[in-house]
């Protein structure tokens, strides 16, 4: 079994079979992670570079762990700010690194489409670890893995993504992936943070948590960023918490337990209440564990396709 593409640039357009294959492959890698010796040999001799043009701790560590557990050699490249401000273009940076004989590139970049651009100028497999507000496919895959683990199937599962949808690559990848797998996806957030015409993706839009909580099995709560306040998209964190904060009180009004996801890092008592984040229906830490398994699966499937 192999994926249809040499790259994982996003989940937009990725088939259900490919998503299924990644999720199923991750099951066996999760089992590896439970072993006393957590290392397997499939990518031995392969060299992977983690090109992080935007600061990230957990995604980079998660990828690095996944790479090392597959026995790949790993190089980390971190550059903050855009490549243009550094004076070297992304194309030159990538080609220079590739000249050192790299097999796979994991890229995180503030600009949407940067991984797609990269995939056209280098010969390596490219994995998108987050590009601007576009996609973060491995995050969505680990969210889907976690939901499937908890609810057995994604088919018909009702998931609402809450928060700043406009700027969220996590939201987009989740929408594309979950819709492909037959889930019912909705979004909830302030009108200023809902991108135009999103309903054309088959995603109902809510502006009141009270309206959507009774209708869902899971809430994926996005991190709210303070700089959006400066751009006039919402008036204050206090108001955001009052009207869009996912709290235990709000969730407990539902007639069934609601699974709580968050891509992290969480702002406790801003977009999510601390008791809920630490509560029995929170799967936030499982997401982190599953993230390593998912990334191992993706790296394995792409790395062994060459």
């Amino acid at each position: 079994m192999a994926l249809k593409s040499r790259h994982l640039l996003g989940l937009d357009g990725v088939s259900g079979e490919d998503i299924q294959l990644i999720l199923d492959t991750a099951v066996s890698f999760k089992e590896v992670l439970e072993r006393p010796i957590k290392k397997v040999p499939p990518l031995q001799g392969k060299t992977i570079v983690n090109l992080f043009f935007e600061s990230s701790t957990r995604t980079r560590i998660s990828f690095e762990l996944a790479e090392r557990r597959l026995s790949a050699d790993v190089v980390n490249f971190a550059a903050s700010g855009s490549s243009v401000s550094k004076g070297e273009t992304l194309k030159d940076t990538a080609r220079n690194i590739e000249a050192m004989k790299i097999d796979m590139v994991v890229i995180r970049h503030a600009s949407a489409g940067a991984p797609h651009f990269l995939s056209k100028v280098v010969a390596s497999n490219v994995i998108n670890a987050g590009d601007g507000a576009h996609e973060h496919p491995t995050q969505a895959l680990l969210d889907m893995y976690t939901l499937r683990e908890k609810h057995k199937t994604l088919e018909g599962l009702r998931v609402c993504i809450v928060g700043d949808i406009l700027h969220s690559r996590v939201a987009r990848s989740n929408i594309f992936g979950l819709k492909t797998m037959g889930a019912q996806v909705s979004v909830c957030g302030p009108a200023t943070m809902i991108p135009r015409e999103i309903s054309r993706l088959g995603v109902p839009v809510y502006h009141r948590l009270e309206d959507v909580i009774p209708k869902v099995d899971a809430l994926n709560v996005l991190r709210i960023q303070l700089e959006r306040q400066e751009k006039g998209l919402f008036p204050s964190l206090r108001e955001y918490h009052r009207y869009f904060g996912v709290t235990k009180e709000r969730v407990d009004r539902a007639d069934r337990p609601i699974t709580i996801l968050h891509p992290g890092p969480i702002n406790r008592d801003v977009e999510i209440s601390a008791d809920l984040a630490d509560g029995e229906h929170s799967v936030i830490l499982q997401q982190v564990t599953n993230g390593v398994a998912i990334r191992m699966a993706v790296l394995y499937l792409l790395g062994s396709s060459n």
């Binding site: 273009t89 600009s111 489409g113 601007g132 507000a133 987009r172």
Partner: protein, 431 residues
């Protein structure tokens, strides 16, 4: 120099003529126009059977990049590109370095243009409306007009302040010259790099809402009503809403005109999906609904002119992240082919109307004398083969830059040559 054009189909809206004729041109002027003009052995003979002869086309929206950005384009390479594309004249935009806000720059461009490409392409500078294109103080419009500027604009940026716009309209009206607005409400477009809508939502790219363009046009029309003797022209309109505002203003008989680019009547924002930076321009590619409205606007005359907004950028400048790439594409060598393919072939424009949009109207907007195809008049002509089918190859462009989203596109119809200022240029294949 004598040239004998044989069997060319003249399509000339000014005289209302559409007939096959011979033209004898001596020293750049029509000596004889008629049926079966006797051949003269000293004349260069050009057979134009099944070809169309039209008054010389002008592209009133071109970025020649000189002075200041000669790595992208020069007056020479830009004129060569224009000539190849079928244009005997271009108006060049003032966002050069230094910008065209001083008469010395106007004179420099004029002199340079005369010395390149044997002067076959007339270059008419459009000067900055404000000093340094900063939108604060008026440029020396009288001096610029006297030096030969044919209009005023801060193109690339809007004239944002309503007060400055009002004064620009008032001051330019003394000289009868047009003020060209790059219509964009900048407070709504910061960081945007494509049309805001379904595709930008899918791609997660920052959007440029269509209302940002429409707001500025609506405001300017209100100002124009207050300064009705001014002349106002909207550059590169891209939305059906913009067209609605312009239609209403025209119905009021306000002095408003507008232009559209071939890429805006051909492509939609769907083209951005592969993150090809040659789909990044300002205004951005819009929706199918907008494309259809713009074609209708060309058909009913609400849109006066077709222009290219020829905006050369080097490959290195364009081969970057989408959000970092500069706006704009080159257009001089694909405009006529796109217009014939998308407009004439699809029944939106007659050949008369095509000539009006590419020659008559833009010359009028820029206060240039009309072209007369009559004995005794200087010959200023574009030759078109409306039937030839060809494939765009950006590597063959005369322009220094190759940034076009149309590489590989099949088109029908192209210019095969021009005649202007006593010079003739024919495409190699045709020669």
């Amino acid at each position: 120099m004598k040239v004998h054009l044989k069997n060319g189909r003249l399509v000339d809206p000014a005289s209302g003529k559409d007939e096959t004729l011979d033209f004898l041109i001596v020293d750049g002027r029509f000596e004889k126009i008629g049926h079966s003009v006797p051949s003269d052995s000293s004349a260069q003979m050009v057979e134009l059977k099944n070809k169309i002869v039209v008054p010389g086309f002008i592209d009133m929206h071109v970025h020649l990049r000189e002075p200041g950005f000669e790595h992208k384009e020069t007056i020479e390479s830009g004129c060569a590109s224009a000539a190849r594309g079928g244009f005997t004249a271009v108006c060049c935009m003032p966002n050069t370095n230094p910008c065209i806000d001083d008469e010395s720059v106007v004179r420099y461009i004029h002199e340079k243009a005369k010395s390149v490409c044997k002067g076959i392409v007339d270059v008419y500078p459009i000067a900055a409306a404000t000093k340094g294109r900063e939108g604060k103080e008026l440029s020396p419009m009288a001096e610029l007009a006297h030096a030969g500027a044919v209009g005023f604009t801060d193109d690339g940026a809007p004239i944002s302040s309503p007060e400055v716009m009002r004064r620009a309209l008032e001051y330019s009206s003394m000289y009868g010259l047009v003020v060209i607005q790059h219509a964009e409400e900048s407070s709504m477009t910061h960081g945007g790099c494509m049309n805001e809508g379904f595709i930008s939502t899918r791609l997660g790219l920052p959007g440029i809402p269509h209302v940002a363009e429409e707001l500025m046009i609506a405001r300017d029309i209100i100002l124009l009503r207050y300064v009705p003797n001014a002349r106002y022209h909207v550059a590169h309109i891209s939305t059906h809403g913009s067209l609605d505002h312009i239609r209403r203003a025209k119905a009021e008989r306000l002095n408003v005109t507008c232009e559209v680019t071939p890429h805006h009547f051909t492509l939609t924002d769907d083209a951005v999906a592969g993150f090809d930076t040659n789909t990044k321009m300002n205004p951005p590619l819009r929706t199918k609904e907008d494309v259809l409205a713009l074609k209708e606007g060309l058909k009913d005359g609400s849109i006066d002119a077709i222009v290219t907004d020829h905006a050369p950028h080097t490959i290195d400048e364009k081969e970057v992240e989408y959000t970092e790439a500069p706006f704009g594409i080159v257009g001089l060598e694909t405009a006529v082919g796109l217009a014939i393919t998308e407009l004439v072939e699809q029944g939106y424009l007659s050949l008369y109307q095509l000539v009006e949009r590419f020659s008559t109207a833009p010359r009028r907007i820029c206060s240039l004398p009309p072209i007369r195809i009559e004995e005794g008049e200087p010959a200023n002509l574009t030759f078109i083969d409306p039937l030839t089918e060809w494939t765009v190859n950006t590597q063959s462009f005369k322009s220094k830059s190759k940034n076009s989203p149309f590489n590989g596109r099949k088109l029908k119809g192209k210019s095969i040559g021009i005649f202007n200022n006593g010079q003739m240029l024919l495409s190699q294949k045709f020669e």
